[in-house]
Symmetry: D2
Subunit: 403 residues, 4 copies
């Protein structure tokens, strides 16, 4: 069918990607290399080895990328305070660039000629994955079975599995009614009853957080230490990036923090409804803004705000590996050199309550100047008159001219 | 001292503005017109009449501007989803343009030559007030006593009051330790222990909301009706704009919604720490985004997001009456024609949980296209390949050239 | 092949679209409606009638759209000062939305089911044309033969013409070595020796302008009258929009004005090199900026400048009929109410030299304030101190903190 | 009058700054340090020494800053393609930050406590100068005599000079009717008959360029070599930044290039009319865009375009030494790593005609893909269908919903 000899497949060990594995072998008469990454999705990755072996795969990559994921993708993105469409913390979007990068590297290591993935033709993930692959390996072949084959439903898949002797244990027990995606930053839910945006999700859908109703009656207080915009310690204990996020997920989820239910605009052109749990990330965003509020210059902060939605859109649309994202990141990282200090906050029944921020070295907050009391001349109130007069000048000239 | 004969004073009836009243008479040998507006600050305005009369004022304006305030200022601003510095809902900022406008009108009605206010020379309010006055009446004189006189503290003021026989009842009983400002949209707190941003505010500071801890255990569910971006009914009951905001303040405050504690950047150049309660506004922002998520085109929504921070900055800095704010408003209002429908949400212990959105006429959500199930050809997954390939082309060419 | 019965074809009367006409009939066994528009390309459109008749077409639309083109497309775009990538005046881009709109109307008038065009699969024009068609008629079929058939070169086309008895007179005599596009706003050249961006175009390529070297030694002086941002008269003589552009093309071309040679980035992902002649448009842009410089508020002008590139990109990429372009247009048109007055300029050997601008009603230029001489107190220089001091405050606080 | 003991004065040697020198001594009973910089204004700076000595100054700084000026200020600004209000190349604006920086250094070297300058209270230069001084030395005193003293006209100054025995030779012979400013980047003219924006400037006003009419009949062809966005050689000859600008000024001025006549919006609130000659800079801008057109990624170029006006405004308003300008510069400089290659152009009677651009290492122009001829499969035209279909999807859904 083409001259493809070896394909690196993003393999979860589940039914769908097992079927893809078989289908690729059939269609292309090619060898398969499986790649299974632990990026904190909360399921064991090691079982994927036995399943791949059972399917006859000889080159099997199983890797723990959690630390790299948070350090090189999640953390830089949070320096930008990125939110898509006012709400979404980009939990799914930010994992794809790393998967794409690692697969392209495995293609080189194994002498493969193509990559394949299980993302559908309707979603954003195919775009994020493939833009990354093409940017990092411009001549690569990408095989997206969902855009090629005729199977359109679960029944079709099951029939295919039966026909091709794909082992029974691949079928998960009770199927979730939702399409889900998880990594250390978040878990997402789409499909099922969510396809009507007037429906409320069932309480049992949520997996990583209790509802605010069921959260403890006692707030939890945390102190976060920031160095150059990144959290490096919690309550005085140094942690790696993945440790930070894992810890925040645990405590924030336990306090009912981080649920989101929204309708979003996909890059491929339609609206879709998604529910997300991002406990740690929700804390990180609010705390980072608090840390910046004390340490960033006003106009630098406003510049970041003006560019934030653009940056978030780039990540959402899959342009992590683009030169424009990298140019923006350079600006953002430059601004973070001074974002050092501590933020105190409380978690309580879904709320994140900032209760303090300080920066020994980089605070721009001047109590002497801000005070409502006598400031001993630190600020000359008479200066305000000229400031206002000149800022008003163009408005006055316009009004005088009859506008 | 100058040829000022009559001054319109923004008069609260409190000690500070009573002193200003006396001081203006002394300094300028002029008549005073007092203007006291009810914009929902939660204090009676009528007592200001007796106080002004006691001080010898002959022209006294006392007006209820609540409806105009919400309809013509708060509502248009919320169409923009305006947030300053990622957090602040602009509660103080949005009231000044209306006060400025009304005072300029009273200047004309009374044949006055100047306006005066009690805002200090360190804050944003002087700027907002005066930019409005100059834009609407370019030749007007503005007298800002705090920038002129030598009094710098409460003791100075009390001494002045005593010396000039300003009635004792003007002095409020127990003085709040905070500098506060209130209107239908919010109440703010600055100063006192808040001047150290590492300090947590006392629970008793908050006046309009219970703490999430003390909120009811049972959620309250609301359905909001939108017409062209504005809420016109709650739970099926038609309400005026001021009624909407009053109702939302009541129920959201009762459920612990709308507290904010932040460090912000003032237009006059320093950072300051403020605490805000905006119960109804916090609901309005989140619900409006939900209504837009279903009805706005993606790129229109993104355009609004890209301009939002700019719009918010204009309002914060006092440029409501500027042509650039008006140009942006034209764009924003144009986009809102289709923002019609209903949003369902729950209030619970500080959380606003969106649980549904629908629009009979203007929904752009297509279940047929978004579905994960077979869509009968509504969307051709094969199109995604070309979409990705062409979007990747520039990235591939760059990679091929060695980048 | 499909259930297409009647196709509206954008028909120039030339060889390529005549071949498309035949090919459509063959492939789809369908009726063809031809549509030929005069948008100022400088060739007679009436001959297309005989050619279409000779090919057996029964429904033939030939229309003069020049006035509509300039009034409803070119003029609104120039209100935005639109330039793509710092150089390109969007001459080709702006004509497609009108063609798309008119064809969609003809589809409805004739009961057709599809439209077809002769744009290639590598260019921007297919995108502009089809985005317009889909936006205005969401269920329409678009047939783009160049993306379907196997013909890739001129030889292929000639062979096809011979085989299908497409009349010889369809072949133009001496073929231009360039791919060209023309309308009242501009003429463009691509391909041939231009495909190496290090090559200079031959002088004989240019058709609408003399070289600056060959332009007259005497400057031509013009006075343009603006009403709401649009030119309504030249040298005191009232003109329609199309008359204005035709006149400016003539005189500016004669004076060597309006040539451009650039490398641009296509929406479909590659760079391409184009040469453009836009004599009248080049004058319009510069003169419009001069008119705005006197009449627009500073911040409104800067807002327009900040949005300009975005607007230009929308037009370039084919999003004229999108809601985001319309939202921006609303803002732009709102700003133009005050852009009234006169601009004087000289054309001389490729130069446009602005020599005067005035606005009796809407000038914001105040000689009294701007003067270097004594201004009798119109401006208080002492105000500048406070203005600078407060603008410097954040910079000073940062420096004091050690930055 | 205050505790000022030593003032560093920006001293040109002309009458105005000589008067300021005397006035400062009188008012503050202080020592004066003069600072005279050669930044390419075209006048000898050495004579300022004798004049300062004649006025009794003991510490005299006379310095050639041309190379630093172009290398560290002009070149970085041109990497941004900065233009203010569509026209102005920021020639005056870009010189102030350097002067401010050097004066602040001299304050430290000489143990002075203040700086002083001759800029008026109506202009931008005071702002640019003082914002720089405050940002670099937050506790510095700035003395701006024009905002303090009562002299308002030339007559006042002459009377003062006479009274204080300021030597007669300080008065220039024939006074220019214009207020001028010059440095290696440009010369500017304001005031006089220019204060009516309907007046054309006299031909004899211009000093650095011939009129296009008087320019040679033979074009001059140049080849510019770029390394990382900066010109490093002309016609194969390596040059320093100042040498480049000096050479381009000479040849472009001789060919009538670089005149500008505009109305601009000052930061202090009024419109003013200025004429500028920027021969070399005008060439640099156009050539830099040509170099970028071949080497920059599309979206990086568009990001730069979207930020350009903001960057230009910062420079115009005097925020060179602000953190937001520095953050933007970081982004801009990052993009320039690939801006390497050659640009060929012709100068002819006011025109700059780009005739070629190439980049051996960094060109993103792919003739194979861009060609109108058969491309052997480098680009699959069928991909365009999916690209258009998905980009159109949201427009089609909207149209189907009745918009």
């Amino acid at each position: 069918m083409s001259d493809i000899n070896k394909v690196v497949l993003a393999y979860s060990g589940g039914l769908d990607t097992s079927i893809i594995l078989k289908w690729l072998e059939d269609q292309y008469q090619c060898e398969i290399v499986t790649f299974t990454a632990d990026i904190g999705q909360g399921e064991e990755v090691e079982p994927a080895r036995a399943k791949a072996e059972a399917l006859g795969v000889k080159e099997i990559y199983i890797e723990d990328l959690c630390e790299e994921f948070v350090r090189d993708y999640v953390y830089p993105m949070f320096r930008a305070n990125a939110i898509y469409e006012g709400e979404y913390l980009l939990g799914t979007s930010i994992a794809r660039p790393l998967i794409a990068k690692r697969m392209v590297e495995i293609v080189k290591e194994t002498g493969a000629d193509a990559v394949s993935h299980g993302a559908t033709g309707k979603g954003n993930d195919q775009v994020r994955f493939e833009l990354g692959a093409y940017a990092l390996s411009p001549g690569i072949e990408v095989i997206a079975p969902w855009r090629i084959w005729d199977m359109n439903s679960r029944e079709d898949l099951l029939a295919y599995a039966e026909k091709h002797n794909i082992p029974v244990e691949m079928k998960r027990g009770k199927q979730s009614p939702y399409s889900m995606d998880a990594n250390l930053l978040h878990i997402s839910y789409e499909g099922g009853i969510l396809e009507d945006p007037w429906n409320e999700p069932d309480e049992e859908m949520w997996r990583w957080s209790v509802s605010p109703q069921n959260a403890p009656d006692t707030p939890l207080e945390l102190t976060l230490d920031y160095v150059q915009g990144d959290i490096v310690a919690i309550d005085g204990e140094k942690m790696t990036p993945a440790q930070v996020l894992r810890y925040l997920n645990k405590v924030a989820g336990a306090h009912g923090v981080g649920r989101l239910d929204m309708v979003e605009n996909r890059y491929v052109g339609m609206k879709s409804r998604g529910c997300y749990e991002t406990p740690g990330g929700t804390v990180m965003l609010k705390a980072h803004r608090a840390m910046e509020s004390l340490t960033l210059d006003r106009e630098v902060a406003h510049l970041k705000d003006d560019l934030m939605a653009r940056y978030a859109k780039l990540v959402y649309n899959g342009y992590w590996w683009s030169p424009e994202r990298q140019a923006l990141q350079t600006l953002i990282d430059e601004t973070q050199q001074v974002v050092n200090g501590q933020v105190r906050l409380k978690l309580y029944k879904g709320n994140i309550i900032i209760i303090g921020r300080q920066s020994a070295e980089n605070s721009l907050f001047s109590e002497a100047i801000a005070t409502f009391e006598d400031d001993d001349g630190a600020y000359n109130q008479k200066d305000a008159e000229g400031f206002i007069k000149l800022n008003a000048l163009r408005l006055r000239i316009a009004a005088l001219s009859g506008r």
